[in-house]
C-alpha cells in the first residue's frame, strides 16, 4: 500500500507541475471543493475589504427503532456555528469557525486560518484548517447537504470534521474555460493515540482527534495530507491522502514503542448530469496496529457513499421565487476490519450498510428543510444476524 500512497502523492504533485498555464478565472468551471469554505453566503455578499460575521445552524427530530426497540421521538439542535471572516488585504484573508454542538455540550474551534494569496496558483495557508482528505471534510456545512446525517465513510474512516493545526499551500490552475486543476498540500500535527484502544472497541480513526493536538503534537512527527482535483463545467474529481504517525512512541525522548502510522487514501467525485446530481467519496485506510490486538482493532478499513439528488420541482412556491424540492437517495457502506480470524479463517465482518431516502425543500438556496428515512444493517465482527435500525428524521439547516 505504500506504493499506492506514493502514487497518489506523485499524481498530486504532477498535476501541480503540469498545470503551468496561467489563465483567468471563469465561472464556467465548477467551484473547487477546497474553496468551499469561502463559498459561504456571508462572505460572498460583502465588499472585498471588509469583515463579516456569519454562520449556520441545524436541528432535526429523530425517531429511530433498533430491532423493534425505540427510544421514541426526540429533537436535537446539532450545530450552531459562527464564522468570522476578514479580508485583511487584497491577497490576505482570515477565516475562523467556532462550533457549538448540542447547545454548549461541545464547543470547538474548527477553523482559524490565514491565507496569503501570492497568486491564484499559490496560496500559503497556516493555522487551524480543514484537512484536504476527501470532498466532504472541506465542504461539510449542513445547509449544502440534502440528508440530515453525515455519511459514515466521511465521519468514521475520514474523521470529518477533521481540523488540524499546521501550514501548507494550495492553488488552482485554470487550463481552459471549462477545465481547472487544484492542489493542496499541508503539514500538520496529526492524529493521536485514540485510534486504537478506545471506547469504541475497534480501530476508530475519529478517536485519534484531540484538542491537545492544536497545542502540541503527541510524537513530534508531522502528518502529511494532500489533494488534487480536476474541475469541469459541472463536475469535480479528486484524489487525496493523509499519512502520519499516531502513537506516542517516545516518552521524555526515550522510545517506548514502534512508530505506528495511519494512512488514508480517498477518491471523491461530484457531477451534474442533466438535472441529476451524483456525488460521493470512497476511502481506504491502513493503520499500523500491534499484532497481538489486530483481530479486535482492524488494520485496514474502507467505506464509500453515493448520493443521487434529483429536483422534483423548481420555481415559485408559496412566498419563494426560486424554491426547489429535491428527492435524494444515499447508499453507504463501511467495513471497519477487512481481516480474517486466525483461528477460524472467517472474514471479520464489523460492517455497516445504510440506505437513505428523502426529500429536501429549499425555499432559498441557503436554507433547507429535510425529511429522511434511514435504514441501517449493522453486523458485528463475528457475523451474527444484523442489527436492524430504521428511523425517520425531519430537520432544517440554514446559513445566516
Amino acid at each position: 500500500m505504500k506504493i499506492f500512497f506514493t502514487v497518489i502523492m506523485i499524481v498530486t504533485i504532477s498535476f501541480s507541475m503540469l498545470a503551468q498555464d496561467e489563465k483567468q478565472d471563469s465561472m464556467e468551471v465548477k467551484i473547487p471543493s477546497q474553496d468551499a469554505v469561502y463559498e459561504r453566503p456571508f462572505i460572498l455578499s460583502i465588499n472585498k475589504l471588509s469583515t463579516a460575521v456569519g454562520g449556520y445552524f441545524e436541528g432535526n427530530s429523530n425517531y429511530f427503532s433498533e430491532d423493534g426497540v425505540s427510544e421514541g421521538l426526540s429533537f436535537e439542535l446539532r450545530r450552531f456555528n459562527i464564522f468570522f471572516y476578514s479580508s485583511i488585504g487584497p491577497a490576505i484573508r482570515f477565516l475562523s469557525e467556532l462550533e457549538f454542538e448540542h447547545g454548549t455540550e461541545e464547543i470547538s474551534l474548527e477553523t482559524a486560518q490565514l491565507d496569503f494569496q501570492f497568486f491564484p496558483e499559490f496560496v500559503l495557508r497556516g493555522g487551524i484548517f480543514l484537512v484536504p482528505i476527501g470532498m466532504f471534510n472541506q465542504n461539510h456545512d449542513s445547509p449544502k447537504w440534502d440528508i440530515i446525517d453525515r455519511p459514515f465513510v466521511s465521519t468514521q474512516i475520514i474523521p470529518s470534521t477533521f481540523s488540524e493545526v499546521g501550514f501548507g499551500a494550495n492553488g488552482r490552475f485554470l487550463l481552459s474555460n471549462t477545465l481547472s486543476i487544484t492542489y493542496a498540500g499541508y503539514i500538520t500535527n496529526g492524529l493521536g493515540e485514540g485510534i486504537i484502544l478506545n471506547s469504541e472497541g475497534r480501530t476508530f480513526i475519529p478517536d485519534g482527534k484531540s484538542e491537545e493536538a492544536f497545542a502540541e503534537d503527541n510524537n513530534g512527527l508531522p502528518s502529511y495530507s494532500g489533494r488534487t482535483a480536476v474541475q469541469l463545467t459541472d463536475a469535480e474529481f479528486g484524489l487525496s491522502f493523509y499519512h502520519g504517525v499516531y502513537n506516542s512512541y517516545r516518552v521524555e525522548g526515550v522510545e517506548v514503542d514502534d512508530k505506528r502510522s495511519v494512512s488514508i487514501a480517498a477518491f471523491d467525485y461530484s457531477a451534474k448530469i442533466f438535472e441529476l446530481t451524483l456525488q460521493g467519496e470512497a476511502a481506504y485506510s491502513i493503520i499500523d496496529v500491534p499484532e497481538n490486538i489486530s483481530e479486535i482493532y482492524g488494520e485496514k478499513q474502507w467505506g464509500a457513499f453515493v448520493d443521487l439528488i434529483y429536483p422534483l420541482y423548481k420555481g415559485n412556491l408559496f412566498l419563494f421565487n426560486d424554491a426547489v424540492i429535491n428527492t435524494v437517495v444515499r447508499f453507504e457502506y463501511v467495513d471497519f476490519n477487512t481481516s480474517t480470524f486466525k483461528v477460524t479463517g472467517q472474514k471479520i465482518r464489523d460492517e455497516i450498510t445504510a440506505l437513505v431516502f428523502g426529500f429536501s425543500f429549499r425555499p432559498v438556496s441557503n436554507t433547507v428543510i429535510k425529511a429522511n428515512y434511514r435504514r441501517h444493517w449493522t453486523v458485528d465482527a463475528i457475523g451474527n444476524p444484523a442489527i436492524n435500525t430504521a428511523g425517520i428524521q425531519i430537520g432544517f439547516a440554514s446559513y445566516f
Partner: protein, 423 residues
C-alpha cells in the same frame, strides 16, 4: 355560489394548493412510516438478552443499569489492561450468548510430582493475557507449564437461577462412589473463597474453609460476584474494589501496570453487573410440544444423558421474587464429571482432576449460532462444530451414553438432536 367556485378555482391553481397537498402527503407518509417502516423485534424465544419475568420496576431499572455496564467498552484511558483478553464483558458474551473461538481464554499450570497443581502465579498464571496496550508486552505461556486449556466464553443467561440453587441441592446430586451403578459419579469442586466472599447461612455449606464452586468450566467460582470480579481483572485488566491490584506480567516484572489509578472500578459497578447477570432470563424453549422433540426427550432420558445433564433444578429462597423457589430446566447438575482422556487438558482448578469438567447447562444450545456468527462451536474450547461432534468427544463417565447415541437409528438420532436444538 359563484364566489365559492371562483375561490376554489383560484386556490386550486395556486402554489399554495400544491404546497399544502404535497406537505400533507409527506407528513402522512412520515406518520405512517413511523409505524410501518420500523424494524420489528426478533421473537422473544430467539433472543437471550432479556430480563427474567417478574422483576419489580426498581429491579428492572437496576437490571438495565447493569446492562449498560456489561456493554461498556474499556479504553486505555479507562484502565484497560495493560494486559488483557478483551475490552468488555459483552465482547466475549455477545448478546449474552456463547462466545466465538477468536476470543478464547487460555489458562495454564504445572502438575507437581505430588499430584498438586501449581497455577504458576509467578509466571503470570493461571490465565494468559495474550493482548496488551501498545508498547507493553503481552504475556506468554511459560515453558514450565505442563497443562494448558483453551476456554470459550459461555452464555451468561439464566445464571441467576443457577446461583440460587442451595449447596445442599448440589450435594444431594453427588454420587462419588457410584452407588447407583450407572457409571456416573459426580463430585463437587471445593474452592478456597476470596477475601470478599460472604457466605450466606443456610445456603452455602463450608468444608474445611472451602466452599462449593459452581461457575466456570471447572466450577472454579463460588459466586457470581467472584466470577464477575475475576473476569474484570483477568479478562479486561480492570482492577476493582475487590481485586485492586493490576495483573502481574512476568515479561515486565513486578510493580508495573497501566496509567490509571487503581482500583479502576467501584464495588457498586461490579455489583451492578452481577445483578444484571443474576436477573437475565433462562434461555427460552422452542417447539417443546412438537412430537419429535418429545420423542427426542425420551431418548435423552433412555440413554442416560440426563444422568449428568439433569433437566430440573429448584432455587432456594431469594430476595428477588422472580428467583425465589422456582423450578427451572438448565440440564446440568453443576457437578464435576470425568470426561475421559480426549477432553483432558492437564489443567485444573480447585479439587477437580484434570479430566473433570463441570456439566455444561444445555439450555440455549439451539440458540448458539445467534451469538457465534451463524455457526456453532461447542465444548469448552469450541472444537466441536456440531452437537454430534460434541457428543463424540464425551468419554469417561459419559462413554456409555455416547456409545448408545452412536447406536441409535438415524430416526432416533434425528429426534434427539431436534430435542437438543429446542433447548
Amino acid at each position: 355560489m359563484k364566489i365559492f367556485t371562483n375561490l376554489f378555482n383560484e386556490f386550486r391553481l395556486s402554489n399554495k394548493f400544491l404546497f399544502i397537498i404535497s406537505l400533507s402527503l409527506l407528513i402522512s407518509f412520515l406518520i405512517i412510516s413511523c409505524e410501518e417502516f420500523m424494524p420489528s423485534a426478533p421473537s422473544s424465544d430467539e433472543v437471550l438478552n432479556e430480563p427474567i419475568e417478574g422483576l419489580t420496576p426498581a429491579q428492572l431499572a437496576a437490571h438495565l443499569q447493569g446492562d449498560g455496564e456489561f456493554g461498556k467498552i474499556f479504553s486505555k484511558a479507562d484502565g484497560l489492561g495493560p494486559i488483557f483478553v478483551n475490552t468488555s464483558c459483552e465482547n466475549c458474551h455477545i448478546a449474552d450468548g456463547k462466545g466465538h473461538p477468536f476470543i478464547q481464554l487460555q489458562r495454564f499450570g504445572k502438575m507437581n510430582p505430588d499430584g498438586t497443581f501449581d497455577p504458576l502465579l509467578e509466571y503470570g498464571g493461571r490465565q494468559l493475557q495474550q493482548r496488551s496496550l501498545s508498547g507493553y508486552p503481552p504475556e506468554v505461556i511459560p515453558v514450565e507449564a505442563t497443562g494448558k486449556t483453551t476456554l470459550m466464553p459461555p452464555s451468561v443467561t439464566g445464571l441467576g437461577l443457577l446461583a440460587a440453587v442451595p449447596d445442599a441441592t448440589i450435594l444431594s446430586l453427588t454420587d462419588p462412589d457410584d452407588i447407583n451403578g450407572d457409571g456416573i459419579s459426580g463430585a463437587q469442586n471445593y474452592i478456597s473463597p476470596p477475601d470478599y466472599f460472604e457466605p450466606v447461612p443456610g445456603f452455602h455449606i463450608e468444608n474445611n474453609g472451602k466452599y462449593i464452586g459452581r461457575f466456570g468450566r471447572k466450577a472454579g467460582a463460588i459466586t457470581l460476584l467472584q466470577q464477575v470480579t475475576q473476569a474484570y481483572l483477568n479478562d479486561i485488566g480492570i482492577t476493582t474494589d475487590f481485586l485492586p491490584d493490576d495483573l502481574f506480567n512476568p515479561v515486565v516484572g513486578p510493580g508495573t501496570g497501566d496509567e490509571v489509578t487503581d482500583p479502576e472500578l467501584s464495588a457498586s459497578i461490579v455489583k451492578s453487573v452481577e445483578f444484571y447477570i443474576r436477573t437475565l432470563k433462562q434461555p427460552p424453549r422452542r417447539n417443546e410440544n412438537d412430537a419429535d422433540i418429545l420423542a427426542g426427550k425420551l431418548i435423552f432420558d433412555q440413554i442416560n444423558c440426563s444422568g449428568c445433564h439433569i433437566p430440573t433444578l429448584v432455587t432456594g429462597t431469594s430476595e428477588i421474587e422472580a428467583l425465589n423457589q422456582k423450578e427451572f430446566y438448565p440440564y446440568t447438575d453443576l457437578l464435576l464429571h470425568d470426561m475421559g482422556s480426549e477432553l483432558d487438558d492437564y489443567y485444573t482448578e480447585g479439587t477437580a482432576t484434570t479430566s473433570e469438567w463441570r456439566t455444561t447447562p444445555l439450555w440455549g444450545l439451539g440458540l448458539a449460532s445467534n451469538s457465534q456468527g451463524e455457526r456453532t462451536f461447542f465444548l469448552h474450547d469450541g472444537r466441536a462444530e456440531s452437537i454430534e461432534v460434541a457428543i463424540s468427544f464425551h468419554g469417561g463417565e459419559a462413554s456409555q451414553s455416547r456409545n448408545e447415541f452412536n447406536n441409535l437409528s438415524e430416526s432416533d438420532r434425528a429426534k434427539l438432536l431436534k430435542f437438543l436444538e429446542s433447548l
